[in-house]
């Protein structure tokens, strides 16, 4: 039995292999290739060490230290949150993907800005309104995909156009700007962690108010609820899931609603960060959807569904954010943002090619 070579038994989970006869190096290589979390952790360490060496050598325009890394985390908030949204959507299988998250960020941000800044609603009321709007937008995607049977790419491409257009029309193409919203900027400031904060760097507030709760909730939902387990089942094989008594359609619809809700949360963070509700917040330039999908793929989410972990999303976000922060120091000014594009593209191609190799060599990710 044990003579069977790993490539011939693709169903064999990694680690179930009889490891005694194989060397440490071979096992480490397998862990590195088959467990995305391990690979990402190694890459993060490589980036941190490499950038620190460049810093010591005096090749960076600023110091790449803990304070800088902590302040860079502000850009991790929208990236990781939308990455988690993509994680759930892609997990649900059947080509699941959500191109409309950027547009949903724009439209819910504008609605939040109008409610909080112009119509004089309280913060909680405006916040709830934005979340409901996000859920409604997501429900449109979900209904199209789960009930009518649209390919997700098409449904969310259509709503990407529709929501983006509505955001610009509702706001009359002007950012919503009022004293209330400008005061709201404080929500994006960096704070000292209480009790132990004196010795640690300042961390952006959004990490604690938005990102960490989202990470914890998504992790709990995916790993500790029946809904989460059903989601993995549906994503792996929705016919088998249906035959085992899972009601596929409502479950698949819910992930798109959740994606809309997370987009609304990101919208509120973004309004705080820019101190104004911009109608193109999620769609200007490359938009927010493509980086989020990149984060998800880099984090080991299989585009075919059913495979993906929260830890992968968190680590791939940290990798990209800290790599980008380093690039900004290495190439000051406009060059920095250009080299960030290159890094993102190369990392994505590298990660996906690696997925292919891993699949052929060990079976599965």
């Amino acid at each position: 039995m044990t003579v069977t070579s790993p490539p011939a038994t693709p169903q064999l989970p990694p680690g179930a292999d009889p490891g005694k006869r194989r060397g440490l190096v071979s096992r480490m290589l397998e862990a590195l290739l088959t467990q995305r979390v391990v690979l990402l952790a190694v890459l993060i360490i490589l980036v941190l060490v490499g950038m620190t060496l460049l810093d010591v050598a005096g090749l960076l325009s600023g110091s790449y230290n803990a304070d800088y890394l902590a302040s860079a985390l502000i850009s991790a908030v929208p990236l990781a949150m939308l990455g988690l949204a993509q994680l759930m959507v892609i997990l649900s299988g059947k080509g699941g993907i959500d191109l409309s998250v950027g547009s949903m960020v724009s439209i819910t941000g504008v609605l939040f800005g109008l409610a909080y800044g112009s119509w004089g609603w309280g913060f909680l009321a405006a916040f709830g309104f934005a979340v409901l709007a996000g859920a409604a937008c997501g429900a449109i995607n979900g209904a199209l995909v789960a009930y009518i049977g649209f390919p997700p790419l098409i449904a969310t491409l259509a709503t990407y156009y529709a929501f983006r257009s509505l955001a610009l029309v509702i706001s009359d193409q002007k950012p919503v700007n009022s004293p209330e919203i400008q005061a709201f900027y404080s929500a994006a400031q960096s704070i000292e962690i209480p009790l132990i904060g004196g010795t640690l760097p300042l961390v952006p507030l959004g990490i604690f108010t938005f990102l960490l709760p989202t990470v914890v909730v998504v992790w709990l939902v995916l790993n500790k609820t029946t809904f989460g387990r059903r989601l993995y089942a549906i994503g792996t094989n929705d016919v088998a899931a249906a035959w085992s008594g899972i009601n596929v359609r409502p479950n698949r619809m819910v992930v798109y609603v959740l994606s809309g809700v997370i987009s609304a949360l990101v919208a509120v963070v973004t309004v705080a960060q820019f101190a104004s509700a911009r109608p193109d917040a999620g769609t200007s330039g490359n938009g927010m959807a493509l980086p989020a999908i990149t984060i998800a793929v880099l984090g080991g989410v299989a585009i075919t569904g059913g495979i993906g972990r929260v830890a992968g999303i968190v680590l791939s976000t940290l990798l990209i954010v800290w790599l980008n922060a380093g690039i900004l120091l290495a190439f000051p000014g406009n060059d920095g943002s250009q080299y960030q594009l290159l890094a993102l593209g190369l990392v994505l191609i590298f990660a996906s090619l690696l997925n292919g190799i891993t699949k052929r060599r060990y079976g599965g990710i």
């Binding site: 080509g95 993907i97 191109l99 199209l144 009518i148 049977g149 649209f150 390919p151 790419l153 098409i154 449904a155 491409l157 259509a158 709503t159 990407y160 156009y161 529709a162 929501f163 983006r164 257009s165 509505l166 610009l168 029309v169 009359d172 193409q173 330039g285 490359n286 493509l290 999908i293 990149t294 793929v297 585009i303 075919t304 250009q338 080299y339 594009l341 290159l342 993102l344 593209g345 190369l346 994505l348 191609i349 996906s352 090619l353 997925n355 292919g356 699949k359 052929r360």
Partner: protein, 338 residues
């Protein structure tokens, strides 16, 4: 005996072949033609300026690059692939060509050849990574889109390329860009659509693409060289992006800025999808793509001419995608039930 039987036999074969082929123009395309005609008539009634050459000619000029890239994209999507890097590829081809025009003053043919050759290389990179890396096309092209944009921004150097000479004016909006009142870029696009229609419908190579999109594994077992075919579709799209980049330069001003190409990949995909090509592969037509591009351009132009905010046009694009794909899905469901 065999001599007598042969014609009958080949006649029967020809008849079965005819039955296997889809109708030359499908239902979805007739619907699109009807919708476009209705829109043009309505717009003509409400804004008298719409049905004049001064309004239709720029509309056709704006259709040309989207529909031309759409031809390649249709090929790709028929094989169940996708290319979201065309925006970045347009940017890179356009900026390199524009720089060449400004600094070395290359002639028309040289500029087009340069742009097409560059686009071809970019397409080959995409195709090779997708076909031989066995990675999902959307992921690879997201990645290459970033790399192409990076390269384009490096070539840009400053924020714009200024003082582009009018070498490419044969594809432009002006008088030099028209023959008998029809924009040259649009005429060229229609020619490309016609050739592609014939290729997809009447050659073995074209039918192979449908087979690959229907079931790549079955196609491989049937003896189709799947991987070279896939590389070829991306290379074709790249080359067409090169031509379209020339159209974009010509239809703009003498200044090229960094927003060139941005978001075009989604516009092209929207045109293809509205045209009735299935994103799941195995089904599609280039005529539909051309009609889809015309429909999108009509809406964009119509919304501003009626005096609505121009941003509203994208809402209609979204709604059209949903209607076009939705009716297709319902028809498919009805077909399966019967």
């Amino acid at each position: 005996m065999t001599l007598e039987k042969k014609p009958a036999h080949s006649d029967a074969t020809r008849r079965t072949v005819r039955r296997v082929l889809p109708p030359p123009v499908t239902g979805q395309e007739f619907v699109l033609i009807g919708v476009i005609a209705a829109l043009w008539i309505l717009l003509g009634i409400f804004t008298p300026a719409f049905l004049t050459p001064g309004s239709i000619q720029p509309l056709l000029v704006s259709v040309a690059p989207i529909a031309l890239i759409g031809v390649g994209m249709t090929f790709i999507i028929i094989t169940a692939g996708i290319d979201v890097s065309v925006g970045g590829a347009i940017m890179l081809c356009a900026v390199v060509t524009a720089k060449a025009l400004v600094t070395t003053g290359v002639p028309l043919v040289g500029a087009i050849a340069l742009s097409v050759a560059l686009g071809l290389v970019l397409g080959l990179v995409n195709g090779t990574l997708i076909a031989y890396g066995r990675v999902h096309a959307i992921i690879i092209t997201f990645g290459t889109a970033n790399v192409f944009q990076f390269l384009a921004l490096r070539v840009f150097g400053s924020s714009t390329v200024n003082g582009i000479p009018s070498t490419l004016e044969v594809f432009g909006r002006g008088e030099a860009g028209r023959t008998l009142g029809v924009p040259n870029s649009f005429a060229l696009t229609v020619l490309a659509v016609a050739i592609a229609w014939w290729y997809l419908r009447h050659t073995a190579g074209g039918r192979h693409l449908f087979a690959i999109g229907g079931n790549a594994q079955a196609a491989r077992l049937a003896g189709i060289k799947v991987q070279p075919r896939i590389v070829a579709t991306y290379a074709l799209t790249g080359a067409l992006v090169g031509v379209a980049a020339c159209f974009f330069i010509a239809s703009g001003t003498s200044t090229l800025d960094q927003t060139i190409g941005s978001g075009r990949e989604l516009a092209v995909i929207a045109a293809v999808v509205i045209g009735g090509t299935s994103i799941l592969g195995g089904r599609g037509s280039v005529i539909g793509t051309l009609l889809g591009a015309i429909l999108v351009a009509t809406v964009t132009s119509g919304v501003t001419q009626i005096g609505w905010p121009s941003q509203l046009a994208n809402l209609f694009v979204g709604v059209f995608i949903i209607i076009a794909v939705g009716t297709d899905l319902l028809r498919e469901r009805a077909r399966r039930k019967s």
